[in-house]
Amino acid sequence: MNFKHKYVFLFPGLFVLIGILIFPIIFTIRLSLSGWNSYTPEMNFIGITNYIRLFTDDPRFWESFFRLSFLSVSTVILQYIIGFALALMVWREIKFKRFFRVIFLIPMMTTPVIMTVIWRTFFHESLGPVNDLLGNIGIDPILWLSDPVIAKFTVIIVEVWQWTPFMFLLLLAGLLSLPKEPFLAAAIDGASSFRKFVYVTFPLMAPISIGAIIIRLIEASKIMDTVFVLTSGGPGTATETSSFYIYIKGLREFQMGYAATLSFTYLVIMIISLTIIAKVLTKLMIKE
């Protein structure tokens, strides 16, 4: 094919994306070297002072980062296990197959913040149905939103509800695209369903699984909507994630310069760690 045509296809999209993003990225880097805050709202140059502050004097950011890692990794693992189980269950013939498939997909179609508003009333400690129903069977009210440990699990429950369908969708689409021959061969050999899963289904699904896990990790690392509405990072800082901490620094305390430093550092860490996770997963799950 002619040499030039390919650029006509690629460039509009590429340049629109770069055009929209170039300013924010350069601006963030420049801003991170300034001391812009509510007292001096100007683009002065203070070198790497902000970065020194971040690496030597800001445990709260690193705590929020580890909290984020814990929350996103644990939700994605749960989503993967449950999503895979559900996908396997409605993969082959089962009664009301299509009905269950639709039901399992619904949460990902709903707006996270809006559903979280509902979840907040759902988990309300005195007026919500969960504690009321638990009370009926004699369990004391649980502090879903005001206990620092339990609040983390409440966030996980809501995230799993919201996003397991996405995992389910990717994995079910993968299962439905698998070739039939390996399963026939296994059936002829008389393999049990368990062995079929371990030796046929799971290895065939490995590339799809890795893709799905990485995509979900990327999305999960942005946990923000849920936390914002459900707990506002609280109680204290118990559910504060990196995004939320950056939000507080930047748009509540107006330390724009420092918030940009946090943003840029966060991005670098995320890109590096996601690349490593992708490599490790590939090594673990795909064997010769």
């Binding site: 629109v16 559903m115 695209s177 940009a260």
Partner: protein
């Protein structure tokens, strides 16, 4: 053994279904309550536990001046922003995906996969990282608090999704298809438009649905980049979530906001069952 497995399977499916449906049922019930039935004790079933009223729903169409919430305008704003941004993203994303799937690009150490990764990697950025510079960027060009400004921002959000789905999809459309068209005397654009595109409808629909979902459910950009002139639906609903929350109108507005996309679940399922989706999602 087989029986036990079957029993466990159905138990799990039913428990999960209950878990998924529970917040919806709660919201439906709450939307018909009044102050008394929300705040005295926990109530569930209308008529039996409490006297249902339509107040929560009526408030939604009243203007704010008369004590209402008025979600009609935010509703149309949301539809407009989501659809416009999705359409632009799909067009640009599909063209780029076609290029990345059919031609080889080389620039220094950059190859096709790197360009694809560049597109997709934009999803890594959390909204907060982008929203501060976007805030300043949009206020400089005067698009802060406007529909157009949001569309621009949402393109960044949605184009990666379109590229991700369409590259995979085009990789599965046989190359012979375009080659035959070229031999028959089409130029590359005609080959793309007349032959490849009509064969990519399932992929386009899936990509379109994903763009619409991820556009519709965004909250944070709309929250930071708009104030009073323009309001999107999620922002409007969350604004109801103040300290003295009117749970009834909150539930009613929540239900009416998530309703349109639930139809998408049926469409996705249909494509899934027909086997069209498997090619489009890897």
């Amino acid at each position: 053994m087989e029986k036990l497995y079957k029993f466990l399977k159905y138990t799990f499916i039913i428990l999960w279904t209950v878990f998924i449906v529970a917040p919806f049922l709660w919201a439906v019930s709450t939307s018909f309550k009044d102050f008394q039935s929300v705040n005295s004790k926990v109530t569930y079933i209308p008529w039996l536990d409490f006297e249902p009223t339509l107040e929560g729903w009526r408030v939604l169409v009243k203007s704010p001046a008369r004590g209402g919430v008025d979600i009609v305008e935010p509703y149309f704003n949301s539809i407009f922003v989501t659809c416009t941004a999705s359409l632009i993203s799909i067009i640009l994303g599909t063209l780029a995906a076609y290029a990345l799937s059919r031609f080889t690009f080389k620039a220094g150490f950059v190859r096709n996969n790197d360009i694809t990764f560049f597109f997709i990697s934009q999803r890594i950025m959390p909204p907060i990282v982008l929203s501060i510079p976007f805030f300043i960027f949009l206020s400089t060009i005067g698009l802060l608090d406007s529909l157009l400004g949001l569309v621009v921002v949402y393109i960044v959000l949605l184009m990666p999704i379109a590229v991700w789905i369409m590259v995979d999809f085009f990789n599965r459309v046989p190359k012979e298809l375009d080659e035959t068209a070229l031999i028959d005397g089409c130029n590359p654009y005609q080959a793309f438009y007349k032959v490849v595109l009509p064969n990519s409808i399932p992929g386009l629909i899936v990509a379109g649905m994903f763009c619409i979902i991820f556009g519709w459910i965004d909250f944070f950009f709309a929250f930071i980049l708009t104030f009073t002139e323009v309001q999107l639906l999620p922002v409007k609903v969350v604004a109801l979530n103040s300290s003295i929350t009117p749970w009834w109108s909150l539930s009613a507005s929540a239900l009416i906001s998530v309703a349109p996309l639930i139809i998408v679940a049926f469409v996705v399922e249909r494509y899934l069952s027909k086997g069209n989706l498997s090619g489009a999602l890897k």
